[in-house]
Amino acid sequence: MTPVTLTKKDFKSDQDVRWCPGCGDYAILNAVQSVFAEMGMDRSKTVIVSGIGCSSRFPYYMSTYGFHTIHGRAPAVASGIKLANPELDVWVVTGDGDALSIGGNHFIHALRRNVGLKVMLFNNRIYGLTKGQYSPTSLVGAVTKSTPNGALDNPFTPVSVALGAGAAFVARSVDVFGKHLTETIKAAAQVKGSAFVEILQNCNIFNDGAWMHVTDKDVKDDSIVELRAGKPLTFGKTSQFGLRLNGFDVQKFEIGKEGAIDDCITWDPGMPNPGLAFAFAQLAEREMPMPIGVFRNVERANYERAVHQQIAEATAKSGQGDLAKLLNSGDTWTVS
């Protein structure tokens, strides 16, 4: 086969993109298209499945196969596609409401089974499409159309939910961090089992600036820590801060003053014990920096492969099924 160089354009569909101007979804679409081009993905073998929400319009804008399903059910539809044809590269695009509220069950079970799906959750901490109700990732106190006096219930952290479900690959990135985002998507694309990527996304209409406290130019160096495999966990404008373990807890310290660089945790997403990944999933909720990057990347038996393996083994053992024999099995008798 002669290698063809693909460009971003090759992954654009002929449909007009209809997100609000300034919506974070544009940047994500752009990142996905460039990753797909760069990786030379086969359009005809790629299927993008989504639920319902602004984010879930995604498949219409890609030139691959696409299925815009119903609210929350994309992981289930995608599981069926992948089980029916494991050769397909199946991606799921979902929102915080779609994946964690109405579709919570399918989301955790797809990850638990480790179906070979790449799930991208666009987390804008709001219901965008239905015009601004609070979502399961909205913070306590969030004032939205349905919580005029402030939201009362405690939010989910998507990364924790994914880790809790036993996901083998869990990552987080940000709509506006172009390079980080493309790298994260690329890493996810190479996973054989389920890959989960939370993408912090700005809904500039109903929840503008939801991630400003971590993504804004002025604060991001101090408020974000990048999880890089094999690298010590440092952050700050001049990497002056480090993160170290203190008993079972993660502690922030100033390098040089409160400890040495060697005290920093060296990040290893392949750790069999998910404990540290869990601790990091919740870090930002504790006035600590927001970790982005790959939290966890371990090998686990892949569900659809195992399913087809069982079929292959049964066929090898008892031979290709013979329909006439099957119908005639059991106690039969002849009437003449």
Binding site: Y60, I70, L326, W333
Partner: protein, 616 residues
């Protein structure tokens, strides 16, 4: 097999048919006993029909009324359609089983009672304030009392089994008795025991001994004055096997996969009485069947849609409450026009209702139970073996017309068994599954001029990449469209596509009178009861026409014309009147409803009475 010689050799009477009911506690193995009796009767060539009736609770408190489990078998030398109304014989393993079942036994019938379980406590558990064996309750019956507990213990003495394991064999003692009374061979069950307890030789020995002891006890004691013989039935020549509805459904689905050359995908979530289809298909791995036990019915339906989209023969199986959960997803299948088969093994409802009992009350849910205009094809199976043909038909319509199809069966035919004249595989009609691969002029929502089916495209096909979804489609391109005129056009097109299925299905056939006073229209699992009732009426010289519908949406194209030939239409159903509404609405006739919702099938006599009333 028999060893002793009877004091006075009983006479053997040849009878056309017998209905026998085994009843005991749910822990007594009555379902197993009944199905062994059924298999043996099938092997001797009887026509037969069964009616397993068991509680929803796995083990209701032992010995109580709610814990009673029963299995009725009718075996005959003539052509029968139902498990029979009133049993000729009852085997009652405890007082509760006697109490629940005695009212339905034919007067003069045989009642075998296990007195081993008639102690004071047993009587109390069954809410008896007296011992019915010492009362006049059973005066109308031929009662045979035997302490099966004691007799089984004696038979198994020396085997070293504990009392509990020993007593567990008493159902086979009872089965041995019935084999003697009805002149059945013991060999099939003896063989079955060998394979069933392959790894436990002591259990093979124990169960075989119990079976033989039951037989011998009858032979030696001379308690029974007569034995009966039911000669083989004059069935259509060919090879037969005994089949239950759920089994036949599973086999039909596998056959459809073969006939279409597609991989079979089943997405399902366990629910009574549908789970056996999932169990059966999970065993057929060497047929390339993918079974997926999803996290709930919604996921099962959605995964099935995904599999259909990816080009599999995609099926989801459930019962009423599950169908309710699948509703939104089925709407997506309607919108995306994907071939999905939904099997609903109906049970008593609403809500959890009567999970183990039968009903036909999901018809309107199947036809209408989705938001907005969401037409799809609905068909129904009429008997256990017919589930095979119905499953094939559902798959054929789904694939050839690119539409979801709901196949309705019910608990009665799903768990009931009958002899099945095995089809010649070579003669089964292929299912025409075509995938579009040609990129030139490809439009995802273009249509076959005859069927209006849209093209089926497997993702993975180069040059045909496209997007589908639940938002309204523009005619042809399938792009998102909010255009008012397009929406109406698409709604009408989807409806028309389903209506046009009528051009591809057989016309309805009227049995009996072709015109006249009364036409009976029925559907689904009531077929057997109605066939018996119509035969009875005809034998009595009454003129009545009968149409039993396989296709409920759309209905056969000549049904309206048939209805016009009759003065009255009677629609018997196990619900409060669902098909009758469809008939009234579509053909604008004052169809008369005959309804029963007791979780039980119609009795032939109930139907005969109703038909006679309308003819009077």
């Amino acid at each position: 097999m028999s060893t002793g010689t009877s004091p006075t050799a009983p006479k053997t009477e040849v009878v056309e048919e017998v209905v026998i009911r085994f009843a005991g506690d749910s822990g007594d193995g009555m379902q197993l006993t009944g199905s062994q009796f059924t298999t043996t009767s099938a092997l001797v060539g009887n026509d037969l029909a069964t009616f397993p009736d068991y509680p929803a609770e796995i083990r209701a408190p032992a010995g109580t009324i709610p814990g009673v489990s029963a299995f009725q078998v009718r075996f005959a030398s003539n052509d029968i359609h139902t498990p029979g109304d009133a049993p000729d014989a009852l085997i009652a393993m405890n007082p509760a089983a006697l109490k629940v079942n005695i009212k339905e036994i034919k007067k003069g019938g045989l009642v075998i009672v296990n007195t081993g379980n008639f102690g004071a406590i047993d009587l109390t558990k069954a809410n008896y304030t007296y011992n019915p064996l010492e009362s006049h309750d059973l005066d109308a019956f031929q009662v045979v009392q035997a302490d099966l507990n004691k007799l089984t213990k004696e038979a198994l003495a020396g085997l070293g089994l504990d009392t509990k394991a020993t007593l567990r064999c008493k159902n086979f003692f009872a089965l041995g008795m019935t084999y003697w009374i009805y002149s059945r061979p013991m060999e099939p069950t003896l063989e079955w025991m060998k394979s069933q307890f392959k790894k436990r030789p002591e259990l093979v020995e124990a169960n075989q001994r119990a079976l033989k002891a039951g037989w011998n006890w009858c032979d030696i004691t001379g308690v029974f004055q007569s034995r009966y013989e039911v000669p083989p039935a004059k069935l259509t020549p060919g090879k037969y096997r005994n089949v239950m509805g759920n089994q036949a459904t599973a086999l039909g689905l596998v056959a459809a996969a073969r006939l279409s050359g597609l991989q079979l995908f089943l997405g399902s979530y366990p629910i009574t009485p549908a789970s056996d289809v999932l169990h059966d298909l999970s065993k057929f791995k060497n047929f390339g069947v993918v079974t997926f036990q999803a996290e709930d019915e919604i996921a099962a339906a959605c995964a099935t849609i995904g599999a259909a989209y990816a080009g599999n023969l995609a099926v989801t199986t459930t019962s009423g409450p599950g169908l309710a959960l699948k509703g939104e997803a089925i709407g997506l299948a309607v919108m995306t026009e994907l071939p999905v088969v939904i099997v609903d093994v109906q049970r008593g409802g609403p809500s959890t209702g009567l999970p183990t009992k039968t009903e036909q009350a999901d018809l309107l849910q199947a036809v209408y139970g989705r938001n907005s205009e969401a037409p799809l094809c609905v068909i129904a199976a009429k008997s256990p073996s017919d589930c095979f043909d119905a499953a094939l038909e559902a798959c054929r319509i789904a694939v050839e017309h690119m539409t979801p199809v709901i196949l309705l069966t019910d608990g009665y035919i799903a768990n009931g068994a009958e002899p099945w004249l095995l089809p010649d595989v070579a003669k089964l009609k292929p299912i025409n599954a075509k995938f579009r691969t040609e990129p030139t002029d490809f439009l995802p929502y273009s249509r076959n001029p005859e069927t209006l089916a849209r093209p089926w495209v497997k993702p993975g096909t180069p040059g045909l990449e496209h997007r589908i979804g639940g938002i309204e489609k523009a005619d042809g391109t399938g792009n998102v469209s909010y255009d008012p005129a397009n929406h109406e056009f698409m709604c009408r097109t989807r409806a028309e596509k389903v209506e046009r299925i009528a051009n591809f299905i057989p016309e309805a056939e009227v049995k009996g009178a072709q015109s006249g006073k009364l036409l009976v229209i029925s559907w689904g699992g009531t077929h057997g009861s109605i066939a018996s009732a119509i035969e009875k009426c005809e034998a009595a010289g009454k003129k009545v026409g009968w149409v039993h519908l396989r296709h409920l949406n759309p209905m056969p194209r000549n049904l309206g014309e048939i209805i016009k030939r009759f003065d009255k239409v009677l629609v018997p159903e196990l619900n409060l009147g669902q098909l009758v509404r469809l008939v009234r609405e579509r053909y604008v006739v004052p169809a008369i409803a005959l309804n029963k919702v007791q979780g039980r099938p119609f009795m032939t006599s109930e139907l005969v009475t109703a038909i006679e009333k309308e003819l009077a």
